[in-house]
Amino acid sequence: MELTGAEITVRCLAEEGVEYVFGYPGGAVLNIYDAIYQQDKFKHVLVRHEQAAVHAADGYARATGRTGVALVTSGPGATNAVTGIATAYMDSIPLVIISGQVPTPAIGMDAFQEVDTVGITRPCVKHNFLVKDIRDLANTFKKAFYIAATGRPGPVLVDIPKDITQFTTEFSYPKKVSLRSYNPVTKGHSGQIKRAVQMLLEAKRPMIYAGGGVILSDAAPQLTELARLLGFPCTNTLMGLGGFPASDPLSVGMLGMHGTYEANMAVQHSDVLVAIGARFDDRVIGSPEHFYQEERKIIHIDIDPSSISKRVRVDVPIVGNVPEVLAEMIKLIKASKERPDQAALKTWLTQIELWRSRDCLKYDRHSDIIKPQFVLEKLHEITRGDAFITSDVGQHQMWAAQFYKFDKPRRWINSGGLGTMGFGLPAAMGVQLAHPGAMVACVTGEGSIQMNIQELATCKQFNIPLKIILLNNRYLGMVRQWQEFFYGERYAESYMDTLPDFVKLAEAYGHAGRRIDNPAEVEDALKWAFSAEMKEKLVFLDFRTDQSENVYPMIPGGKGLSEMILV
């Protein structure tokens, strides 16, 4: 039987086992929406802005490891989606974005709601397709899902002209796909792995630096086993938090611009550094010149050859999939009689404890103004460290990363690479839909939350009971901090004195809210939000926090890891 392109689209999504499609209708996708209306294989979540559709699909993907799906119309639908796509691209998140396009004969005619979506998104997708022949449609979906989820994951966009959704053809979904031009490596080079293991066994001041690649490839068990087997300390990037349990004594927390003193010092002074699914980002290593250490050896495991030796020369590059490479290393270490020099390791760990005792995350616990750090510590306590935490971008993001000690992967969901304000709330929707019974909190700022606040309506419509933890400092705090440190306290446009009453706003959308002004009320408010009584409700907590609080430690731009500003 012949199916229309719209029906084929829906069937392809069902074949891929898609559970949720996040989207927003419009002219070019009306046929697809009509086909969605007539199916029951997946649910469609109507967002209130296309950017949120992509972030929600992205949150879903980060929390599950499965490919997220978004659907938008042509023209403004597609351009609204671009920020979401770029966000996913920078953090290597597997997504398939379907965009409607004007009918093929109208392409290039400046037709109504026409934009060159494939051209606009080209630099921020892993790959994209314009489907010009209905006979290619099913195969294109197969390829799109395959490319999005394999190798270094990323968003793939499929642009479908409206006439293609009307035409008909025989449908059969390909069982397999193979692309002669795309064969991601998974198994690491065994010679290189042997060299790396030898280097690890001879290390005197070893350090593991683990990134988002560990989360993306579900390699937390292998990473944890390796670190514990060798007794090596481990730091995680912002994207890698939860890849190694923060509560493990070998964890030194996050490194980088707002990383801990102990993590940054240990990385800088190590003699063997193993980078695992991490990309030596400028927010992580600061200036490459300062970072460079003549005598330090670097092992780098990454599935993307272009991540290796991009910013930093490495001694042992291993191109491969993290869990496979680590399993191979663990096997070799277990088979070897050699063990690292225990005396040297002990001295090294003692040194690290000394750095740790600097207590770089300390803050005033007796303040009568709410300290944001205190809210996050309480959040951790009340959710027993078991919540999914999404965040927006700014100071609150850094505090959440520092103070919510993540023991499990896929619990910390934030925009690291693009740093997209407005990510937190829609991403939390995707997370909550993926894990209906779980505690999901969006830690946000009063600047960020306003970038996608309209999604409170989506949460109402789909009964998404997430909790919003607003650390309201009445400032674009991260901007204010830079202005305080580097711009002579000239606070240009970082203050907004016309904030809405967030509690009333939440109520207007049909949710519950509370404003919290005193430290003494913090615990009670959080307990209320996560109580059985509020389990089915979205709760918006507006914490009035200290306006002048800064994120420490901080490495100023262009400086090196050991040049931190400390509190």
Binding site: P123, H127, R180, S181, S306
Partner: protein
Amino acid sequence: MKHIISLLMENEAGALSRVAGLFSARGYNIESLTVAPTEDATLSRMTIVTRGPDEVIEQITKQLNKLIDVVKLVDLSEAGHIERELMLVKVLAEGEWREEMKRMSDIFRGRIIDVTDKTYTIEMTGAGHKLDAFLDALDKNAILETVRTGASGIGRGDRILKS
């Protein structure tokens, strides 16, 4: 150093813009780029001439390989190869220049392929530096127009780029 990167890519709409976009987005230098179909209709062959330090060239080849449409890639300059470029030059050919231009063209093994009483059009092929040398040897005032194709390259001997 100058590198000649030769690649085979899927003959898909937009493939060229992916390569061109990559170079501009990442700030890589691009001296010339040529693209044309091959004996296999599903593939196009592209030759890119670029310059940069070794680390940058390494990134360029890695980033190109990462493009989903790129099937195979080789940096021809890493081993024996042949480089050729076609150039058409229109020069003034009046008075004393008429004889001079003919002589120069012969020396550089060019061919005069169009003649008017005021101009010659010379066709010349060779490696880029030979074409440069020819232009340098001409009186600047006599050059009316130059058109160059950009380099094409192929490996020497049995060095073959196949999908």
